[in-house]
Each structure stands twice: as C-alpha cells, then as structure tokens.
Amino acid sequence: MNTLRKAVSLVLLVAFCASSAFAAGAQEQVETGGTLNVYSIMPEKYATTIFEEFTNDTGIEVNFVRLSSGEALARIIAEKGNPQVDVLWGGPADTYEAGILEDVFAQYVPSESQEIPARFRSPDGYWTGIGVIPLTFMSNTAFLEEKGLEPPTSWNDLLDPAYRNSLQMADARTSGTATERIYSLVQALGEDQAFEYQKKLHQNIQLYTKGGAGGAMPVATGQAGAGIFYIVDALDIQQQGYDLQISYPKEGVTYGVEAAGIIKGAKNLSAAKRMMDWASTERLGQVMVENRINYIPTRPDVTVTNPALDMSKVTLLEADASWKGENRSRFVERWIDEVVQQ
C-alpha cells in the first residue's frame, strides 16, 4: 500500500500548500493600530500631500489607493462583509449618500464638527465635508481668440455654433462632475428645460470624458475649446502653466461638497476617528491653502488666498446632498435616454 500512502500524502501536501496560501491571504488583512487604510477619490497628488501632513501630526501611517468615485463605492459595497479600508477620503457627498443606502458607512461626529456649517456635513454623522468645489467654465484662450469669443458667462453662451465639436465635459454615468452639471442646470433652469438645454448643448460636444477632469488637458492643449469642470481641476491645470480662462455662468452653479467618512466595520476604528477629527480642524484647510490644493475649505475661519476661490461675485445655487442622492439615478437615466441617444 506504499503507493496509496504516497498518493494520499501528496494530496495532503497540495491541500496544505493551498490552505497556507489562503491563510497568508487572510493574515494580510489584519493590521495593527498605527496604520490606516484608505480609498481616496481625491487625486493621488493631493492625497499624498495631505496624508503626509496627517502622518506628521498624528504619527499614523496611511496606506491608500486612488479610485474614481464609482469604483471606490463599488469596491466598498463588494467588500462589505470584510472591509478592506477604514476611511473613504474625498469624493462628492452624494457618493456617500448612495453608500448610506447600502449601509456601508459608520456614523461618527468629529470633534470640531460644529465649526463646519451644517450644509457641509451629513445630518446623521455619516460624512463630513472637507472642501467645497463649485462648477466653473474653463476655456482655452487661443481658441477664444481664434473664434473671436469672450469667455462664456452664461449657460447659453455655450450653445453658440462657434463651439461646434469643441466642448469636452464629463459623462454622467461615470463622473460626479457631470452629475453636478445636471444639478446646476436643473437648479438654474428647471428640470425639463435643463434637459432641453443639454440636447442643444450636445450638438457642440466633442467628447464626454469618463472622468470629471478628463477634458481639462484637452482644453489646455487646444484639442478642445472649452468645458465645464470643478474649480479644483480647472485651477490645477491652469497652475501647470496653460493659458486658460476661468469664468462662471450668471444663472449660477451648484457646488460639490468633498467629503470623508468612516467605513462600517473599519478594522482601525480609533485611527479612523482620529483622521476624521483632524479633518474637522482648521489644520486641513491650512494644508490645502499652503499646498495650492484648490478646494474651498469647509471651515469658514480658514482664509483663502487664491482670488479664483473668492465666491463673493459668483451665484451659488444650493442643492443639498440628499436631494442629489435621491435624484441622481433618475437624472443620469434621463441624460442617457434624452441627451446621449437623441
């Protein structure tokens, strides 16, 4: 029975190897208290800077991976049974609202939360605003000169045939910037008129990009003439040295609240809470200002130096996160059916 024994022991060996591989896999999950795992929707370069400061202040190491808002939420939902990260950092508040419906966020009210205006945080403590970003028009100066145009100051300016095939903006299925654009239009023009408007605008569209900032580089390099972006993305590309014009529509725009929140079942809960506490202090706003990370801080007591972030002359429209969350899918479906496929 020697061969039989050999066979059995070989099978056992294989099974052992396999199981130890899984065990190793499982062990990788366990982390000690000194680190924090994060999905960042905020662009990598900003997140890197901000987390470095956080580590300096608290001694907590941050591991993170940057994902688009959709990917991040999809991941978090898929990983619900066994969360891989402790905090979701950045991304529009309505992503968080969608996540609340899936029960993936934990409630936590950070220490200095009361200093942040109520419209910038979740009423139930699921998320806290870390920055405000209005939508803006961004156009290529050379393009405007060539066509003899002024920077657009009304939504209707973009319907000018001079923009034919020259606009790049985000695709509503994948980008929070795009849904923000629809919210703005609905708030400024009314729902049905907003979609009528977009049908017309569609004639001038060169490309709907997957990411909210996807069109910024093409506009900067002259591949496209103009687009609609969050201010943070527009300023970022302008700061790189491209000749661009930033302007606002007189009918007004809504703004996004960049948020952060703790994942339900977080394995490093106390560290996660410390990150949320840190984010509610003035310190985060100062880090952003110092590093030219162009979010408008949610703490009114932080002074903003960049004139482009001065909102006093801009018509800002209010649209709270729960309204956005409730209407998002409906708007997106309407957008696909009526605008893209017309």
Partner: protein, 607 residues
C-alpha cells in the same frame, strides 16, 4: 459559518469531487468499461486498478489541478452567474432583461461585434502584409529586422499607451492633422478605436501568419514556378491558399482580443460608440451597479465563447505550426512579384513610421516640463516615478514574477496531462483550463471580486488574488506551447525511461521537462509580458497593499499627468524589454545545448 460561505464550501467540494471521480476513471485504457457488450468475457478477468494506485503522482496532480480549477475558475464564474441570475434565492432573467431592455446596451453589443469584426479583418490584412514583407520579399535585412522589432512594441506596451499618443496625433487639433491640414477628422468613436486596436493587435496576426509562411515548403514554390506559373499566379494559387489556416486563426484571435479590450474604447470610444466591456466597467464603476455590469458581461460571454470554440475547432488537435527541427536541404522561398513587393514595402514603412512616431511622442512627453506648453527638458517625471511609483514597480515585478513561475508550472502539468494522458473528461478538463482565457478580462475581474470577498476564501486585497487572476488567464499560451512541443516528442522516450525502471515522476522530471524546456520558456515570455501589461481583469483587484504599474498609468492619465503617464509607460516598456531579452537569451541557451548537434536524431524526436 454563515449560509452563504457554507454554500461556497459545498460548491468547492462538489467541483473537486467531480474532478476526482473523473481522474479515478482515468485508467490507461480509455474504453475499459465500454467494451463489455462487445467482447465475450473471459473467465480470466484482469483486475483493473484505479489511477490512484497505478499512477499516484498523476493522480495527485490531477486532484490538485481540479481543486485549483474549482477555486479559481468555476467558483468565480458560478458566483457571477448567481449574481446575474439569482435574485432573493430564485432564478430569474430579470437582470438580464433589464440590461437588454436598454437600447444603449444593444447598441453596445452591436458595437462590440462590429469593432471586433473590423479589427480582425484589418489587423489580419496588415499582419499578412508584414509577414509577406519579412518572408517573401528581397527587402534589405535591416528593414526586416526593423519590422520585427517595431511590431514588438505594441505587444509589450500597456494597452492604452498608444491610444493616448494617437489622440495627440490624430485627435482634434492633433499634431498630424495640423501638419497635413486635415479638418473634421473625428477620432472619438468607431474610427479611433478601430485604428488603435488594429495597431495594437496586428503584431499577433503578424506572428501567427509569418510562422505559417515560414513553415510552408519552399519546394511547392519551386514546383509552381517550374510548371510555368508566373509569380503572381503562384502567389494567388499557392501562397494564399496554403496560408488560409493561419489567416483563419489570426482572424479569430484578433476577434477575441478586440472583443475583450476595454482600455482602448474607454479612451477613444467616446459616447457615440459604446462597446460591451467598457459599458460593463462603467456600469459597475459609474452607476454602482454590479448586477447590471455582470449581466452585460454575460452578453459578452456568448460571442467570446463562440469564437473560442471556433478557434479550437479550426486548429483541432494538431498544432499546425510544426517546428520539426528537420533540416533537410531547404531552398529559398520564391519572391513576390516586384510591384507587389513595392506596395508592401510602402505600406510597412508607413505603418512602422507611424508606430515609431506614436512612441516617440510618449518618449518625448516623458522628458518635457509641461506637455506642449513648456517643452524644456526635465527628469522630474522620472524622479516622480521612482519616488512615488517605486511600490507600484516592485509590486508589479513581484506579481509578474510569481505569476510567471506558478503559471508555467501549471502550464507544464496541464499541457502534459492533456497531451500525454488518456482519461475520461479530457475535453472538459482542457476546456476548463482555458475558460478564464476565453472570457473577457472584465468578466473575470468582476467574477473574482464577487467570489473571493468572503470566507472561506478571503482573497480580496491580497497578492494571491492578483497572481491567481493572471495565472489562470494567461497560462493558456504556455499550455498551448507545451502541448505543441510534446506533440513533437516521441512518447517512446518516456516509455524508454519507464521501461528502464524509472518512476513516472522521475521520467517527467528527467526526460520530459528537459525536452520541453524551450517551449516552457517561450510560454513564460508571454506570460510575463501579459502580467506586466494587462489591466482588464486586474483593475478591479488592485488594493491598498498591492498595486500595479498599469493602473498607475491609467491613474496618471485621469489625473491629467500626461508626462508622468509617459514616464511610467517608458519605465514599464523598458522593464518588459529587458526581462524579455533575458528570457530570450535563456531560451537560446537551453535550445543550443542539445538541439544544435542533433540533426540526426531530431528527426526521431519529431517522429
């Protein structure tokens, strides 16, 4: 243990048991129990022993392989099916209906099929032209070497690299368009995706077709010419008909590749030309709709499996590229007619120039301060890559290395079992092994994340899940080359070893392995390249702890850091190039040892 993970365990057990039952029946005699009806049984009945006793090593290998199939192929697929078709415990087509109900998705299905058809045709034609240039023209050797070298570039680059530079060259206000004064050229949509995928995949057609053009007997050419056929006539009546199998195979390969490609349409598809893999990806990442995405990927599964089966049917059991090593007196292939050679040379030059131009853009972009605004030279982006991308680079290398090693071992075992052993369910076995390869990457990625996110097989966020995804998807090339190599090695060599008293294990390690090492190394090269550059399956699987260069490139792209993306791409291409060169060198070394002075017995190996 909750109910769901309980069912998962049960599932694994069932799949594994099926595997074990199959392998137990794998007696040496394939018809052991079918013949009873036909033969009047003798009283001296031989007792038939199970495989477990007669060949314990094979038995354990089969069990191990079936278990790994159960875990890494069947389980994810089953979970995907369940996610798609089971709502609240009942089987339903609701999700499917919903996915099919949207006209945009139907459009995406058509888009996928049209694109795949177009790419497979154009890519094959271009590949054929390149193959002719290399094998059948009198063009200078330098030029032929250049053709070979340049076609490697798209093979070893991450899939979206060329898309980006294509946008810069042919996009709105693109440099080439400006240079030629072309207006109203719309790259976003079918046209751009088609051009980019053709450029990305035609090297595959080139390799497949030039292999078959090379193995054709030159004597046929001579015969045709000596019968008074003109060169034109010979080309039409001999060369083209004989390369039909290569053409067919290339068309199917490209069709499958295009069908599964998600990165190119993601960048170039625009909104007017949706395709399924990209839609599935957007559905999940954009609309937070896993079920919808799963349903869409199911739509993709049907044409993908169809093409896969067709290809298996076409190639059949034989590998038609037979590298017999026979070195009889071989005459030169007849050259093509002069006019045709000229046309071919011109087409190849244009394509090569264009590819070089696209890569030059990337190289240049990686060294300039700010793309197209401040063109002063800088190493800043490389600094960034090596400072912030170091982890991605080392992670990618670790993952690629592990996947290559594990994948090769599995490929050898599976290829050996399939080619050398007879057992019930062999077809099922072979088909299962290639399933992940036949499915589009997005489907596999989604299936993996659904399947491995809970106990008992908790793998999300680990190295294992990335390695497994690569191994079970890309070892297919390895399996193919092992099988092809074994087909050319006379089983008598292994029988000789057994008859000399060596165990089957010793035979395998001392005889089989050394003889197929060249094929194994060739398979490893492809495996490594894929692990370094593929993104479709693994984009869902990268984690906080394990990340990949390709996702970093995509990331840089979405963050508008074009120069950074270029620097990442260049680094990646260099790594692959070096690794590939090392493996190619090893390949030469391993074949030189006994294949060189072997001319006499090589014929016997090939017998």
């Amino acid at each position: 243990m909750d109910r769901r993970s309980g069912s998962t365990v049960a599932l694994i057990h069932i799949s594994a048991t099926i595997g074990i039952v199959y392998s137990c029946q794998a007696a040496h005699n394939p018809i052991a129990y079918k013949e009873g009806a036909m033969i009047e049984r003798n009283t001296l009945k031989p007792t038939r022993k199970s495989l477990m006793k007669s060949d314990p090593a094979l038995f354990s290998a089969m069990v191990a392989v079936w278990i790994s199939f159960a875990i890494f192929i069947f389980l994810p697929l089953l979970r995907l099916v369940m996610t798609t078709f089971v709502i609240d415990g009942t089987f339903t087509f609701e999700n499917m209906k919903e996915a099919l109900g949207k006209s945009y998705h139907i459009k995406a299905l058509y888009g996928s099929l049209i694109l795949a058809t177009a790419v497979s045709i154009s890519g094959t034609i271009l590949g054929y032209i390149f193959a002719l240039a290399v094998t059948r023209t009198t063009l200078p050797r330098v030029f032929k070497v250049l053709l070979g070298g340049v076609t490697i570039l798209p093979l070893i680059s991450p899939p979206f690299t060329s898309s980006i530079s294509l946008t810069l060259a042919l996009g709105p206000n693109g440099m080439l368009l400006k240079a030629f004064g072309i207006e109203n050229f719309m790259i976003y949509g079918f046209l751009g995706t088609w051009i980019s995928e053709t450029l990305t995949y035609f090297p595959v057609a080139f390799m497949v077709i030039s292999a078959i053009l090379n193995t054709m007997s030159a004597n046929l050419d001579d015969a045709a010419l000596s019968l008074g056929a003109s060169r034109w006539r010979m080309f039409r009546t001999v060369t083209i008909p004989l390369s039909i199998p290569g053409i067919g195979n290339s068309v199917l390969l490209l069709f499958g590749a295009s069908l599964a490609d998600f990165a190119t349409p993601l960048i170039l598809g625009g909104h007017s030309f949706p395709v399924l893999p990209t839609e599935a990806y957007l559905m999940i990442t954009g609309m937070f709709d896993l079920r919808g995405g799963a349903s869409l990927s199911f739509l993709l599964l049907i044409p993908a499996l169809f093409v896969f089966l067709l290809q298996r049917l076409l190639i059949g059991k034989k590998s038609y590229i037979s590298v017999t090593g026979k070195s009889g007196a071989r005459t030169e292939f007849a050259k093509l007619p002069r006019e045709l050679s000229m046309v071919i040379a011109v087409v190849c030059s244009i394509v090569v120039a264009f590819i070089l131009y696209l890569y030059a853009i990337i190289l240049w972009g990686s060294f300039v301060e700010v793309w197209s605004v401040n063109n002063s030279f800088t190493l800043r982006h490389y600094e960034y890559v090596f400072k912030h991308g170091r982890k991605a680079i080392s992670d990618t290398l670790i993952i690629a290395f592990l996947s290559t090693v594990i994948g090769s071992v599995l490929a050898v075992i599976i290829g050996y079992i399939v080619q050398r052993k007879k057992f019930i369910g062999k077809r099922v076995f072979e088909f299962s092994s290639l399933l992940n390869y036949a499915l589009p990457g997005t489907v596999v990625g989604i299936a993996y994340i659904i399947a491995f996110n809970e106990r008992p097989i908790l793998l999300t966020g680990t190295l294992s899940i990335l390695v497994a995804a690569y191994v079970f998807r890309y070892y297919a090339t390895g399996i193919r080359s092992v099988i092809a190599s074994l087909e050319q090695i006379d089983p008598a060599l292994e029988e000789a070893s057994l008859s000399l008293g060596a165990s089957s294990t010793r035979t395998f390690t001392h005889i089989t392995i050394p003889l197929i090492i060249p094929a194994v190394l060739a398979g490893m090269r492809y495996l490594f390249i894929h692990c370094m550059t593929a993104i479709s399956a693994t984009i869902f699987l990268v984690s906080v702890r394990w990340t990949l260069l390709t996702t970093r490139i995509l990331e840089s792209m979405t963050e508008l850091q074009f120069s950074q993306a270029s620097a990442f791409s260049i680094v990646l291409i260099l790594i692959v190039f070096i690794a590939d060169a090392i493996m190619f060198y090893l390949l030469k070394l391993s074949t030189a040892k006994f294949h060189k002075p072997q001319e006499i017995t090589n014929e016997k190996i090939g017998a």
